[in-house]
């Protein structure tokens, strides 16, 4: 009567609108599924301890750290990675354009995670103030310490949306 256990599992997951079905080891981290198996290398690995947020993706509308989740835990979910932001013709989202306009990236390593945390924030709260942006980005570390322009870029998107 009991559920059986297995070291692998077949999972179905929708990523950036595309459905994938894969047999994955139970020990596989979601970030490795994205990067190594699906070639979605825009999602970065920084600390690999859940501290830096470079691996942030949006899962079911919420920002999560894909290095702190097993791929099998994502079975049945819908995920957006940084590759899912710009449209196929390369048109940037207002957030991406704002990062460009405000020089909100230096080396760029943290940028995919910053964009995904801010994307989730703006979906839930289209006009965040500076404090709300800082709280939303608390789990994302920028080692260039370019926080000021990042916060400005996100606030500006909300202000643009309000006008």
């Amino acid at each position: 009567m009991s559920t059986t256990t297995s070291t692998t599992r077949t999972i179905s997951v929708v990523i950036n609108g595309t459905s994938y079905e894969r047999d994955v080891p139970a020990s596989l981290l979601l970030v490795h599924l994205l990067r190594d198996d699906l070639d979605l290398t825009g999602t970065h690995i920084g600390c690999d301890t859940g501290s830096c947020g470079a691996c942030t993706v949006v899962l079911g509308g919420e920002a999560i750290k894909s290095c702190c989740m097993l791929a099998v835990q994502a079975d049945g979910t819908s995920i957006t990675t940084v590759e899912g932001l710009a449209s196929d013709d390369g048109a940037l989202t207002p957030l991406q354009q704002s990062f460009h306009d405000h020089h909100a990236l230096q080396c760029g390593y943290c940028t995919p995670g910053m964009l995904m945390s801010a994307t989730a924030l703006l979906e839930q709260n289209p006009h965040p103030d500076e404090h709300e942006v800082k709280v939303a980005l608390q789990g994302n570390i920028c080692r260039c310490t370019g926080y000021w322009n990042i916060v400005e870029a996100v606030v500006a998107v909300g202000e643009g949306g309000a006008s």
Binding site: T3, T5, P25, T49, G50, E62, V72, Q73, Q138
Partner: protein, 284 residues
């Protein structure tokens, strides 16, 4: 990071989950994974079987007990659910307030209340808070259900009353009655970082309950301070006087962030702040 090979199951019912946890030595319940996945990376834990609780919808609810005397929080409720819950806002808003200071948004979205208390890291937020609030913990096994107090639940560093073949299903927090106020204060590393020392307090018609975090393996009730405040005088002078000497009764660990003496001092300060905050809210 590559993890060691592990068996995995995703049961559809609590009964199946308990059966899996009973049948396999080295089986661990997987809640949000915000601690467990990272300790597996570090090989600090190497479970043979992960029993993923994700599909157990009955553990993901926040509701009231039949007589409305308690808020019933399912073990798989995430911190984000606590923050946005209208039941929590009405019945015990301190829970949402504290949940909003745990780690960061991404971790709050995945991390669960049950996972946080079952890890029982001495620096975690919920153990001292739930101890001060007089919460009870419902643990299920094949033999049935048992309900334990915070004092009985938190047993040691990373150790709780949940033993092999058992599963924490629910945390029950008494609903706030008129004239009751709650507070939590502490000193953190960074704005929402790990606590160096913290204290939670509740004041009300039944007196004062104070629980200190980060100073021992489990939350420590400041019973002497509670007794000194039993006469109901919660003025700042009275609270400071009641806390005097509390730090000297504690025996916290030293680490790179704070030595034992400093941590004891922070605990005493935190206790004063938590009680004053709770007292102010009890009046309001």
């Amino acid at each position: 990071m590559l993890l060691r090979e592990v068996e995995y199951a995703r049961p559809a019912t609590v009964e199946e989950a308990i059966a899996l946890l009973s049948e396999h030595d080295g089986a661990r319940a997987l809640a949000g994974g915000q601690t467990l996945v990272n300790v597996m990376k570090a090989r600090a834990a190497s479970p043979d079987v992960l029993v993923d609780l994700a599909d157990l919808a009955e553990l993901r609810t926040i509701s009231f007990s039949a007589d409305q005397s308690a808020l019933e929080i399912g073990a798989m409720v995430t911190n984000t659910m606590v923050i946005s819950s209208s039941e929590v806002e009405v019945a015990r808003p301190i829970l949402a307030e504290v949940a909003a200071t745990i780690a960061d948004v991404q971790i709050r979205n995945r991390g669960t209340v049950g996972g946080n208390v079952c890890v029982n890291d001495p620096t975690n937020h919920y153990p001292p808070l739930l101890s001060a609030l007089g919460a009870t913990f419902t643990i299920r096994s094949a033999a049935g259900e048992r309900v334990v107090s915070a004092e009985e639940f938190f047993l040691g560093v990373y150790v709780t009353a949940v033993s092999e073949g058992e599963l924490l299903t629910r945390i029950s927090v008494p609903t706030r009655r008129p004239g009751t106020g709650d507070g939590m204060a502490g000193i953190t590393l960074g704005a929402h970082g790990t606590y160096l020392a913290c204290a939670a307090a509740t004041v009300g018609p039944d007196g004062v309950r104070i629980s200190i975090g980060c100073v021992a393996a489990v939350p420590v009730r400041a019973t002497e301070m509670e007794e000194r405040l039993a006469d109901g005088d919660l003025s700042e002078a009275a609270v400071r006087a009641a806390a005097h000497g509390l730090g000297a009764t504690l025996d916290p660990p030293s680490d790179v962030h704070a030595n034992a003496e400093y941590r004891s001092h922070l605990a005493e300060v935190s206790a004063v702040r938590a009680v004053l905050q709770a007292a102010e809210r009890a009046e309001g």
